[in-house]
Each structure stands twice: as C-alpha cells, then as structure tokens.
C-alpha cells in the first residue's frame, strides 16, 4: 500500500514516512489477524447438523477477558502512535526555525506566485522578486514560507517534501522545509479551488547554493530592468 510513496527529499519527509510505516505495521498486523479470524470462524463454526451453538453472553469478566486484553493493547498502541506522531507534528507544523530563506507564496485562482524579499530581506519593498510558478530554493537551507491567498482556499502540497498546508485568504500561514536533494519536484494545489483547480500546478526547483545564487542574481537583474 505504501510502495508508491514518492521519493523523499526533505529533512522531515523521512520522519513522516517513518510514522506511515509504523502505523502500517500495526494496522497490517490487526488487519491480518482480524480478517483471518473472521474467515477461520466462518469455516470452523459453519452450521453442522446436530451441533448446537454455544450459549455465551459475554456478560462476565471471564468471558470478556480476551476482549479486554486486546483492547488494552489497542489503547496502548494508540498512545504510542500519537506520541510518536506528536514529535513529528511539532517539528513540521509548530516549532519553526527562523529560516535562512524567506519566501512569500501567493496563491490565487489558478496560479502560484513566489515573492522573494530581495537584497534588503524585507517584503513589500521595491526590490521584491516576483517569480511565477516555479519555487527555487537552495539545498540544505531552512526555507521559511509565508503562505497567502488572494481569493479562496488553496492548499500548498509538495508531495516529495511531504509538506501540505491549506492557505486561508485573510491569514498568513507559516510553513517551512529543508530540501536534501536537488532536482525538480511537484507542487500541487490539493484543495478544490474552482474551475481550474486541476491545472493549478507549479514546481519546486531545489538547487545547489551556487546555482541558486546565480539564478537569484539573474532574476533580480531581469526584474530591475
């Protein structure tokens, strides 16, 4: 079920995959055990002439002991899953690093625009760089994203980075990631945003720092002209 996961290219994508595989193992065990048990009992306890069913109401602790046992196991596993997940969640969504690069993402029906603060490091100044569609980031640096939307709710989804975040109009929502592999990756809008939702595609370009700087300089020059 999980063999189709896209490649993992960020510092936390491995953690998320770890949770996925961990849950997969637990769930897989219960899946095999319970489905197996159902098939077993359907065969084992099928109707036979002259054999009467057992009268068993399950109202006593003795009769319930197996169920209680399994349920305790389930509860414990639930908490294990949650406590493992809590750390990953906090890492991805709660405790943001300040970020080496800050980029503002502007979503609108039906396109992505990325705003780089330019040399002064401030947004909404004259030297802001506005780049459509392709998000360029340097590898191995912490990217701080400021997600905004001009109209409806969009969702910023980088499958390979395992990052997804809905963008609410009227709010600035923060996200971050750190890429660990260079290349071109996917960017989808994963929240129905209207007629052109399907075509609201972008891409993520992870570059070596030198390449990134070169690209940044070239684009700055282009835009200032």
């Amino acid at each position: 079920m999980l063999k189709n996961l896209p490649q993992s290219v960020s510092t936390f994508s491995g953690d998320i995959d770890g949770i996925l595989y961990f849950i997969y193992a637990i769930v897989g065990f219960f899946f095999v055990a319970t489905e197996g048990y159902i098939v077993y009992s359907l065969v084992r306890y099928r109707r036979k002439d002259g054999v009467k069913a057992r009268y068993e109401t399950g109202e006593t602790w003795r009769e319930m002991r197996w169920i209680i046992g399994i349920v305790i196991v389930v509860t414990v596993l639930d908490f294990v899953i949650d406590s493992k997940g809590a750390g990953v969640w906090a890492k991805v969504k709660e405790n943001f690093p300040e970020g080496d690069v800050r980029i503002k993402v502007v979503a609108q029906q039906f396109s992505w625009t990325f705003v780089y603060p330019g040399a002064d490091g401030q947004f909404d100044t004259r030297d802001d760089l506005t780049v459509p569609r392709v998000l360029h980031v340097p590898i191995h640096s912490k990217i701080r994203l400021i997600l905004t939307s001009k109209d409806v709710i969009h969702s910023f989804f980088l499958p390979e980075v395992r990052l997804k975040q809905d963008i609410l109009p009227g709010r600035q929502i923060n996200a971050w990631f750190e890429a660990t592999r260079t290349g071109t990756f996917n960017l989808f809008c994963s929240e129905l945003c209207g007629l052109g939702h399907t075509k609201m595609l972008g891409s993520l370009e992870v570059q070596e720092p030198a390449d990134y700087e070169r690209w940044l300089a070239e684009t700055t020059k282009e835009q200032l002209e």
Partner: protein
C-alpha cells in the same frame, strides 16, 4: 399537574424580571469599569434566563430526563465555543 404557589408566584417572577431589565439601565448610568459592567450584564441575563426556565417553563417540576436533554446541547455549545477560541478569536489576522 404540580403543587401551586410553591415559592414565588408567576407575577412575582415577572416583577423580578422587569426589575432586572431595568437593572441594565442603572448599571449604564453609574458608570462602572467595563469588565465589571460586562460581568453584571451577562450575570443579569443568566439570572433572567434561569428565572424564566425555572418557573415559567416549570423546570423545577420536571423529571431528570428533561435536564439531560437540556444540558447536552448547552455543554456542547460551551465545548464548541471554547475549542474555537484559539482558532477564530485569538488568531493573528495578517494580510
């Protein structure tokens, strides 16, 4: 259905309700600090609502099941508002 004239009569309750409504106005003229005023205002509203529910809706004579029917939605309302406080009220709105 229920014993008559136990405690306050319907008319006395009405007098109380009117008095409490006028109480709003008094509070406005005295000029107390805002948070005190708000506490008083909603305290009065709560008292009035309880008076109506308790006497006019005969809750004081009702069986326990009615309280269950009433308390569940009130509790859920409280949960809904409390859980949404951080998300709707205390959020920093940018842009």
């Amino acid at each position: 259905m229920e014993p008559e004239k136990k405690g306050l009569g319907y008319f006395a309750i009405w007098v109380w309700l009117v008095a409490l409504t006028v109480g709003y106005l008094v509070e406005r003229f005295i000029g107390v600090p805002r948070h005190v005023a708000l506490a008083v205002i909603f305290g009065i509203a709560l008292v009035k609502a309880l008076l109506v529910a308790w006497n006019y809706m005969h809750l004081k004579h009702e069986s326990r099941i009615i309280f269950v029917i009433l308390l569940i939605p009130i509790l859920l309302f409280a949960i809904l508002v409390l859980l949404l406080l951080p998300d709707i009220t205390l959020v920093h709105r940018g842009n």
